[in-house]
């Protein structure tokens, strides 16, 4: 069975599943009717980050507004627009100021069933955990992205079926399967690709283990395999996240991150609002040098980063970090300091 047949079969199964569950929709008691009806919301964040590394300073202002437009209780249109710039100061001169902007996602979600949501439009590619869950700066433990994030820093244009189901009282299964068409537009660029992510989530243990697969079908065809782990410990204020990616064309790597909230150390405001994070990561180049993604290092690279975030009132958060890059002929320090402001209104 070739890939096309597999995708056709997957989509067919999705339709069969949908057909099987639609008749039950009207029979269900709508527990959702008990809550307030949703209204449109504008949310997002401003961020200003400064990064210092051997002889180079980079200032990175960013503005990401997000719009949520619910239509009843089953339909939601949501969009995030990204506008950012990297102003680089190197060798005593400032580089050009170019504002990058694009649509991160512009999607229509139809909640077809308690266990199934259909998504159409442009959406964050559900591969691993970083792109979908941690790409907003205000939610990250460390402002800098992992090296391997560049492998999957993209959105898809097409359709997606996703959802979750409770298998037992202590275990959920989640899934997301999608197909994306190739788009060359600057604001809405996307590769032709198909993929899926599935995970087992153990709510009472705070543990989720996921696997991802993606097949890129553009001019360069290659597979991506990924695995991820999220563990929120119950007895300690400690969160652990890790992700590993293996690709045939872009190399492979992993990152593992631990975040420790200091609120157990004392009741004063400083401890309650502080968090320390430590990340370790490695990237290994492919056997044949890749030229598809400029952000990926051209040599095997390891990096360790230690950061501190402090949450102020009114959605303002301060962050700083120190990292050390280890690569042959490219050992250097990376300092980051920044502020993020999160807002929401209607």
């Amino acid at each position: 069975m070739n890939l096309r047949q597999t995708i056709t079969m997957a989509l067919g199964l999705a339709l069969v599943t949908l057909a099987a569950i639609v008749p039950t929709l009207h029979a269900q008691q709508s527990i959702e009717a008990q809550s307030e009806s949703p209204i449109p919301v504008i949310a997002g964040y401003f961020s200003f980050q400064s990064t210092f590394r051997s002889g180079t300073q980079t200032l990175s202002p960013e503005f990401d507004p997000t719009l949520l437009v619910p239509i009843g209780r089953k339909l939601l249109i949501e969009s995030e627009f990204d506008m950012s710039s990297d102003l680089t100061h190197s060798n005593g001169q400032w580089g050009s100021a170019v504002v990058d902007h694009g649509v991160e996602y512009l999607q229509l979600n139809y909640i077809a069933h308690p266990n199934l949501t259909l998504t159409f439009g442009r959406f964050l590619t559900p591969f691993g955990i970083y792109r979908e869950r941690l790409h907003p700066l205000w939610i990250r433990n460390l402002a800098g992205e992992p090296i391997i994030f560049a492998i999957n820093d993209n959105s898809s244009n097409g359709a997606m079926a996703r959802g979750t189901a409770r298998l037992t009282s202590g275990m959920n299964i989640t899934y997301a399967t999608y197909f994306s068409a190739s788009t060359k537009n600057n604001q809405l660029s996307a590769d032709r690709r198909a993929g899926t992510r599935a995970s087992l989530f153990f709510p009472n243990k705070g543990l989720e283990v996921g696997v991802s697969f993606s097949r890129v079908l553009s001019d360069s065809r290659y597979n991506m395999l990924g695995a991820d782990l999220t563990w929120n410990l119950r007895k300690l204020p400690l969160d652990f996240r890790a992700e590993v990616i293996q690709t045939t064309l872009l190399g492979r790597g992993y990152w593992a991150e631990a975040a420790y909230r200091l609120d157990k150390l004392g009741r004063n405001r400083f401890f309650r609002s502080s968090q320390l994070a430590l990340r370790s990561e490695q990237y290994r180049v492919p056997k044949i040098n890749q030229t598809l993604i400029d952000e990926l290092p051209d040599r095997n690279t390891s990096r360790a980063t230690l950061g501190w975030t402090y949450s102020l009132y009114n959605g303002v958060r301060f962050n700083t970090s120190y990292g050390r890059n280890f690569a042959r002929g490219d050992n250097h320090n990376i300092w980051t300091v920044g502020l993020t402001y999160r807002f929401a209104a209607f």
């Binding site: 070739n2 890939l3 597999t6 997957a10 999705a14 069969v16 599943t17 099987a20 569950i21 269900q28 008691q29 527990i31 959702e32 809550s35 307030e36 009806s37 949703p38 209204i39 449109p40 919301v41 949520l68 939601l76 949501e78 979600n109 909640i111 069933h113 308690p114 266990n115 949501t117 979908e132 079926a161 979750t164 189901a165 409770r166 298998l167 959920n172 299964i173 989640t174 899934y175 997301a176 899926t196 599935a198 995970s199 709510p203 009472n204 705070g206 989720e208 697969f213 929120n232 119950r234 204020p237 969160d239 909230r261 609120d263 949450s311 009114n314 999160r342 929401a344 209104a345 209607f346």
Partner: protein, 100 residues
């Protein structure tokens, strides 16, 4: 390898269909739902008006792969823990219940 992949896809799509019959019967504790889902990524959830919260919950239901019951339980939790003077726009406040 491809047969395994196909088999996994079949399981993936059929599991929710069968699980759906049971999911409506389960009850989810609001406190547990909040801690087990929101606090995986958010150190504290800001408080907004109930209708804004309902819209944000729809967004997070899709993004975080939550069940309908979990979303309703979280809405219940946020309603129960909302500031008393919560107005139509924005009553901001850090969640009163710290992560344990």
């Amino acid at each position: 390898m491809k047969n395994w992949f196909t088999f996994l896809l079949v399981c993936l799509f059929l599991t929710p269909a069968f699980a759906g019959a049971n999911s409506g019967k389960a009850t989810v504790d609001p406190d547990d739902a909040y801690k087990n889902n929101c606090m995986r990524c958010h150190s504290a959830v800001r408080q907004y008006s109930p209708r804004m919260t309902a819209a944000i919950a729809m967004h997070m239901r899709v993004r975080a792969n939550m069940t309908a019951e979990e979303m309703e339980a979280i809405l219940q939790y946020l309603t129960d823990n909302a500031p008393a003077n919560n107005t139509s726009v924005a009553a901001y406040g850090v969640s009163k219940r710290p992560r344990k």
